[in-house]
């Protein structure tokens, strides 16, 4: 049977929404699910795959011993059981990959081995900068079709978001194996079938150097971001700040408030240009497109470029002093108030410690 490989190296890759997407895709592709993860999340995947302790003979395939433990985002997600997934799932633990992810070419080298172990019809990961880089290198090396920002909303059509989520590009259904990053959106309930032939299973013995064109290894150092900030791409709740906050101090206050709440922080282009935050927090046409459950915009007027990045959010709450601000046209709830006052009152109303994850 063909296999759909899901790369789950972040906790959010194993959320209920994600698993629904994977399930929908696996039905469409008529494929079995293989979850590729590391030991940090192994317990979760085991629960999800069989609802009990791992059995080494059935699915658990430890490849390499744990060599890397890096800080993970703690985030409590409700966990579906085997019943809700209704398909076989193999779990592969590869702790070594975690350390290689900082070097996309090396991680791609590691991932290409998968094609020799499984009859892979699709290799997917969450849509994020890191996976985009790694998988686009892999697709170039393996000469397979790459579908970034694939969405499940239009199943059984093969579709992806372009122009920061403003346009849906429908593609020919891949005739053979493909590699992609999956944007977070609700799968359509009408799954059709994709006739797809998998990458043929070839010889088991493959020398590492034969797999990819060998890149000269670059010496790297890696400095992880030291904040406890939630990852933006897969966050359920996002607090976003714009020029209306008035100063970097006020933006930092928003960040503290969001951290206490366990929410991710996003910013408008103006806030980034003013140097109030890192530019990987920028959402919109030239930043990233996100679709959290709840998006709360503090002092963002809502230029069309920013709205392009957030319109897939399930609920939008906007706080602005100007009742004619365009963001209110896209918002579910609006508050006409000074964003800084709201942040201050909100901070006061929240517990001092972040929710346990």
């Amino acid at each position: 049977m063909n296999q759909l490989i899901w790369l789950a190296f972040e906790e959010s890759a194993l959320s209920t929404d994600r698993l629904q997407q994977i399930q929908a895709l696996s039905q469409t592709l008529q494929a079995q699910i293989v979850v590729y993860t590391d030991s940090r999340y192994a317990d979760k995947v085991f629960q999800f795959s069989r609802g009990s302790a791992p059995d080494p003979d059935k699915g658990l395939r430890p490849l390499e011993p744990a060599i890397c433990s890096s800080a993970s985002i703690s985030y409590q997600v409700p966990w579906p059981t085997m019943d809700s997934l209704k398909c076989d799932c193999t779990v592969v633990i590869n702790d070594a990959l975690v350390s290689k992810l900082n070097h996309p070419a090396v991680a791609a080298l590691d991932l290409e081995k998968l094609f020799y172990e499984y009859s892979v019809c699709a290799l997917l990961a969450p849509h994020s900068q890191r996976w985009l880089r790694t998988l686009s290198i892999l697709s170039a090396a393996a000469q397979m079709q790459f579908i970034p920002n694939l969405c499940t909303r239009f199943l059984p059509d093969c579709a992806r978001w372009i122009c920061a989520g403003r346009v849906v590009e429908k593609r020919q259904i891949p005739g053979e194996s493909f590699i992609g990053t999956l944007s977070l959106d609700e799968p359509s309930p009408n799954h059709g079938l994709w006739p797809i032939s998998a990458h043929p299973l070839t010889v088991a013995e493959v020398a590492e150097n034969d797999l990819l064109t060998v890149w000269p290894p670059a010496k790297i150092s890696f400095e992880p971001f030291v904040s406890d900030m939630m990852g933006l791409d897969n966050a359920r709740i996002v607090f976003a700040g714009g020029r209306g906050l008035g100063s970097k101090q006020n933006f930092d206050r928003l960040v503290q408030c969001a951290q206490r709440f366990g929410a991710a922080v996003a910013a408008s282009r103006l806030a980034v240009d003013l140097g109030w935050c890192r530019n990987d927090l920028q959402v919109g046409q030239t930043g990233r497109a996100i679709c959290p459950d709840v998006y709360i915009a503090f002092g963002i007027s809502g230029a069309i470029q920013h709205l392009a990045g957030i319109k897939n959010a399930k609920k939008i709450i906007a706080i602005n002093t100007d009742k004619d601000a365009p963001i209110f046209r896209y918002a579910d709830y609006g508050v006409i108030a000074d964003a800084n006052d709201v942040i201050e009152r909100l901070s006061g109303a929240l517990p001092r410690t972040p929710p346990k994850g």
Partner: protein
């Protein structure tokens, strides 16, 4: 040392996008240079000003010359331009055409924006690196060079990796690497005399795989007004 900068031509994201079946309505005058690629041009020009790079070559495929002239006015030395309809392009064709018209050597770096604002395919730099068998370093926000070694500071979702590489390599530029300059009038006039080599795009059997483009449905929302107290109660409710 030579820098080859890829500038792609995209439908202006500030304008209303007009779709026609499987492509954007092709109005050459409405196409602009991809913002992110202009950052790469600016970065290359700054490297030239520091004496690290001797020559900047702009490589551009698209319906209009305007972006090429802009890049030349910003400080590039010469250009390779293939006139074509954007709808005929795929990452594969861009890479094939580029490799047919540049002589890859060890004293060349390849610079691109981190993202095309239209198709967001993320494929060209990696394909190019793969074909050239050289490293591909993405989202560079700071460039340092000592002797032959380049230190490239990058951005990632979770941290800041620093890569060290020797030319040739491919890099994509991050927003805060450089702010594209406005070309001065004398430079715009000077740019008209810079050489532009015209090329044909490499025709391959592979056609774009797009079946259709559709505007994403605008979610109609009706804004319900809340007081600050209601909001705080609502946000606290999210927590549980």
């Amino acid at each position: 040392m030579r820098a080859i900068v890829f500038v792609s031509s995209v439908a202006n994201p500030e304008e209303k996008l007009i779709l026609e079946g499987d492509h954007f309505k092709n109005i050459p005058d409405d196409c602009i240079a991809n913002d992110f690629d202009l950052i790469a041009v600016e970065a290359a020009v700054r490297l030239k000003e520091q004496g690290i790079i001797d020559e900047i070559v702009v490589f551009c495929l698209g319906p209009a010359l305007a972006h090429v002239q802009k890049a030349l006015a910003m400080g590039a030395d010469r250009a390779i331009f293939g006139e074509c309809d954007n709808r005929d392009l795929t990452p594969q064709i861009v890479v094939d055409t580029a490799l047919a018209h540049i002589d890859p050597d060890d004293a060349t770096i390849y610079m691109l924006g981190k993202l095309g604002v239209n198709f967001e395919s993320h494929c060209v730099p990696q394909m190019l690196a793969n074909r050239l068998s050289c490293p591909c370093v993405c989202s560079v926000y700071k460039i340092e060079k000592a002797d032959k070694r380049w230190q490239l500071h990058c951005e990632d979702d979770v941290g800041i990796p620093i890569f060290e590489a020797e030319a040739p390599f491919v890099m994509t530029t991050e927003l805060r690497l450089a702010e594209p300059r406005f070309p001065s009038l004398p430079n715009i006039i000077k740019a008209r005399r810079k050489p532009i080599e015209s090329v044909q795009i490499e025709a391959t059997s592979q056609r774009p795989q797009t079946l259709s483009l559709e505007m994403a449905a605008d979610i109609q929302r009706s804004c319900k007004w809340l007081s600050t107290d209601d909001l705080i109660a609502m946000v606290k409710g999210l927590e549980s």
